[in-house]
Each structure stands twice: as C-alpha cells, then as structure tokens.
C-alpha cells in the first residue's frame, strides 16, 4: 500500500501537476508574451493582463509547488541520494531534481514577485515595473530553457528508459 501511494499515485500526481506547470510556462513563453506585444499595438493588452495572466499565474505557481512536493515524495528516503549524488543510480534523477528545484526557485523568487509589480497587484513605479518586466521575462525564459534538460532527465531516470539512454 505504501508503494502504491508513494510511487504509484505520487508519480501520477507529479506528472499531472508537472504538465500544468510546464504547460502554463510554455503558454506564457510561446503564446502570451508574443500576444501581449501585438495587443499593445491595438490597446487590447489590458484584457490579457487583467483577466488571463493572474489566473494563469495562480495555477502556474501552485502547480509548481505540487510538482516539487510530489517529486520529493517519490524520492522519499532516497531524497538525499538524488540531491547529493550519493549513489550512481540516482545521478540522472538528481540532475532532473536539481533543474526542477532551480526552476521552482525562479517561479517563487523571481517570476511571481515581479509579476505582481507588472500586473499592479503590488505598488511599483514605472521604473520598477520596467525592471520587474525584464527580470520576470528572463527568469521565465531561463525556466523554458531548463525545462528541456529537466524533462529529458525525468524521462531518462527509470527502468527501461534509463537503460536506453545510459546503458
């Protein structure tokens, strides 16, 4: 029963939440940012920043938390084996776990606080908003970049998939 919950349901939840997190990350980078640049030209950007972005950010940041916690639950007693690279079997998932951890740090420390200034949820001067826009943009792009190796190491970390990639 323990394995059923920790490994079975845990992995299912990890992937469900991960799809929501990374799906919304790709939505921001591949859809919303280019759309906002176009919308700024015809004055329709407030529709996105007022009604879409806050909702997308809500699910984005909390999906990141659920993904990380479910991942930690799957690692269980091997959490430190992965993060400290203590056992070779945990090298691939260790790299994936570190990339995911850097990404959740970016979400909560760089993206969300700066988005609050950009969207007017927190008071900020125009200069502060311009700086916040750049920091949030680069952190979001960094996460998009890191998601590529992160997903690679997630899928290359177990069973036949690990053997296929690492022998």
């Amino acid at each position: 029963m323990g394995d059923f919950i920790q490994l079975g349901l845990g992995r299912w939840l990890h992937i469900l939440a991960g799809v929501m997190w990374i799906g919304l990350l790709y939505y921001f980078n591949f859809v919303q940012v280019p759309a906002l640049a176009e919308a700024a030209k015809d004055g329709t950007a407030p529709g996105i920043t007022k009604h879409v972005a806050p909702r997308a950010l809500f699910w984005f940041r909390w999906a990141a938390v659920v993904t990380w916690l479910a991942g930690a639950m799957i690692l269980g007693s091997h959490f430190l084996d992965a993060f400290l690279f203590r056992a070779t079997a945990y090298y691939p998932i260790g790299v994936g776990a570190w990339l995911g951890t850097i990404m959740i740090f970016n979400v909560w420390v760089l993206i969300w606080p700066n988005q609050q200034k950009i969207l007017g949820l927190k008071p900020a001067t125009d200069e502060e908003k311009a700086k916040a826009r750049r920091v949030a943009f680069l952190a979001s792009r960094t996460n998009t970049m890191l998601s590529i190796p992160m997903i690679f190491f997630m899928v290359a970390s177990g069973g036949v998939f690990k053997t296929a990639f690492f022998g």
Binding site: N29, F30, T88, Y91, P92, V95, L138, R141, T142, T144, M145, L146, S147, I148, P149, F152, F153, A156, F165, F166, G167
Partner: protein, 31 residues
C-alpha cells in the same frame, strides 16, 4: 552579444545544448 533568451529559438537551442552537455557528463560519470 545578443542574449539568446531574448528569442524563442535561442531559448530552445540553448536548452538542447545544455541537455547534450549534461547528458554526456552523466553518461561519463556512470561508466
């Protein structure tokens, strides 16, 4: 030099490059 993260293609290509580098490091470490 332009920041590759300013373009979507630059971001994706950077991610692929990091993947190849990390993959080879881990593969080497596992040998």
């Amino acid at each position: 030099m332009k920041n590759p993260l300013d373009s979507l293609w630059g971001t994706v290509i950077s991610g692929l490059v990091i993947t190849v580098i990390l993959y080879n490091i881990v593969k080497f470490a596992l040998q």
